[in-house]
Amino acid sequence: MYRSWNIIISVLVLTVLILIGLFAGRFTVYLTSRVMILSIFALGYNILFGLTGLLSFGHAAFYAAGAYGLGLFSLHVSPHPLIGILVGVACACVLAAVIGFFCVRQTEIYFAMLTLAFGMMIFSLIWNMRGVTGGDDGLVGIMRAPISLGVVSIPIIKPKIYYFLVLFFLALSVFLIFRIRRSPFGLVLAGIRENDRRGEFAGISLKNYCRLGRCPGHLAGKQYDSVFGPLEPLRRTGAGQPDRRHPDIRRPACRQCRVYRIARNYRTLHPQLDALVRPDIAGHYHGVPGRNCRGPVRIQKIAGKVRCRPVIKRYGFNLITN
């Protein structure tokens, strides 16, 4: 049932897009091309953030790598668009491999900050190396040469033909990503999001997969420049920010130790607590972490002695001194 709905919706969307390409006016065609190009970018971003839960700030760097890869290739080597697209994607993949190599060494907020740093590095290089990239003037003079396939030649300079080229790549990307999500690889990526530790226990090399996760979506950058002429280095890092659940970080397995630690640091705040949580008591309850001390505890005075009891309540920390 679910599967057949998927097929029906895909066919409907595709039909609408083809009808737009065939019958819509100039502006609608232009706008829809742009929407589709950004969709390809978003699909790639979704592989990383949506599937693995790693929030990246530097994703636009891959977009830039694809676009500048194609731009420079067509200016200096050959204006053939298909080869240019392949070169652009290859550039983005190489960049992703390099950046990924470093970024996966950190997790959480530091992953996001690292991707931000690398993204800004690429931006500053493109911005400042005027001789190669044109700096803030952009890279001008990129031709939309016809795609020659031996006998036929497709003039993508016409907006409608170009529209169908973009549509073709969008459909290709959607299909690829659909396959990826259903493959064992996609399941591994989802596993990273849900619980990375457990994934590692299951024998998955986390680092390699994180790195790979960045490579596939990046068909996007390639088409942008052909639509908009001069490249805009100003479009830089896209959406928001880092991180993932890390159940154990910053949370001492032994709650009792934490009570003691905090109380010692801020002893003067509350004299009663100071008297209550003494080092000897904390030591007394310093059990095997994770076995007898996990979860919230309640400090109680029972028959003149201070006792810690585990409590069921989730977020409360009850301090009862009676």
């Binding site: 400042n128 928001g240 705040l269």
Partner: protein, 293 residues
């Protein structure tokens, strides 16, 4: 390259650094205090931008008095900070960090367009400050008086923050709440109110930086917040997220690095900054002064 040039490049670096510090201080304060892992507030750059625009409006409406603008402008931004914390951020503390960041990022986009609607998309030229306009000769060359003023203000703000956090009763409560939210509330601290207050104070600091930027950068543009927030992030990361001491030193390092970079290798001046940031993150992710997680 003589001594004079080096002194001037140093001074320029110091003023840039102090200027970034004014913005990064509020960012670091908010990150350090709110929650166990903190809120990395993307919208801080927007506070800076709004501060600059509010100051500009106040001072142009109320007879070109810069100091009055500096007094009233950031207070308006405080109100914005209150709304964000009380009605939005408060509900996302418990969910995962990416969603907090996406929420604050949404505010960046929102404020950028709001500024365009209210003040227009063009740049606004800013007035000079009476008494601090012009330049003073240092070693035979002129140096802007206002930059010297910024160099003086930076350490003053740092001193004030240090006294507030380390020496006062309020500071002690803030430190306690940042160390353990539940514990603080158990011993009678009204944590939600405290967080709102800290967030408003952080917003005020950011807006203050914006207000002081009005004569410094010369032009007000709707994108000015995003430019500064990247620098502030770099500084906060290098010094250690959540550490005010680290942010101060990080700002000095970044200021000097960028000014020497601009002087000697202009093509790679920004690149150097981000190389340093990446190196710090890889080698010592908690920064120079942050606590190891």
């Amino acid at each position: 390259m003589d001594l004079k040039s080096i002194v001037h490049v140093c001074l320029a670096g110091l003023s840039t650094g102090m200027f970034i510090w004014l913005v990064a201080s509020g960012l670091t304060l908010i990150f350090g205090v709110l929650g166990v892992l903190g809120v990395l507030n993307f919208a801080h750059g927007s506070f800076y931008m709004l501060g600059a625009y509010c100051c500009f409006t106040v001072l142009s409406r109320l007879g070109d008095n810069f100091w009055l603008g500096l007094l009233i402008g950031p207070l308006c931004v405080c109100v914005v900070g209150y709304v964000i914390e009380r009605f939005f951020l408060r509900y996302v503390y418990r969910i995962e960090l990416p969603y907090q960041l996406l929420l604050t990022f949404a505010f960046v986009l929102l404020f950028d367009d709001l500024v365009k609607i209210i003040w227009g998309a063009g740049s606004l030229g800013s007035p000079s400050v009476p008494g601090l306009a012009g330049s003073v000769p240092i070693l035979g060359r002129n140096f802007p008086t206002y930059s010297l003023f910024i160099i003086a203000v930076g350490p003053l703000v740092a001193l004030g923050l240090w006294i507030l956090i380390e020496k006062t009763w309020y500071g002690r409560i803030i430190r306690a709440a940042s160390s353990d939210r539940e514990m603080a509330s158990a011993i009678g601290v009204n944590v939600p109110v405290l967080f709102t207050a800290v967030f408003m104070f952080g917003a005020w600091l950011g807006a203050m930086g914006g207000g002081l930027a009005v004569p410094y950068v010369g032009l007000l543009t709707p994108g000015m917040g995003e430019a500064i927030i990247i620098d502030a992030f770099v500084v906060a990361v290098i010094g250690g997220l959540g550490s005010l001491k680290g942010a101060f030193l990080g700002a000095l390092i970044i200021g000097l690095l960028s000014s020497f970079g601009t002087r000697f290798i202009p093509t790679f001046d920004m690149f150097l900054t981000f190389i340093l940031m990446a190196a710090v993150l890889l080698w010592r992710p908690q920064g120079f002064f942050g606590e190891a997680v």
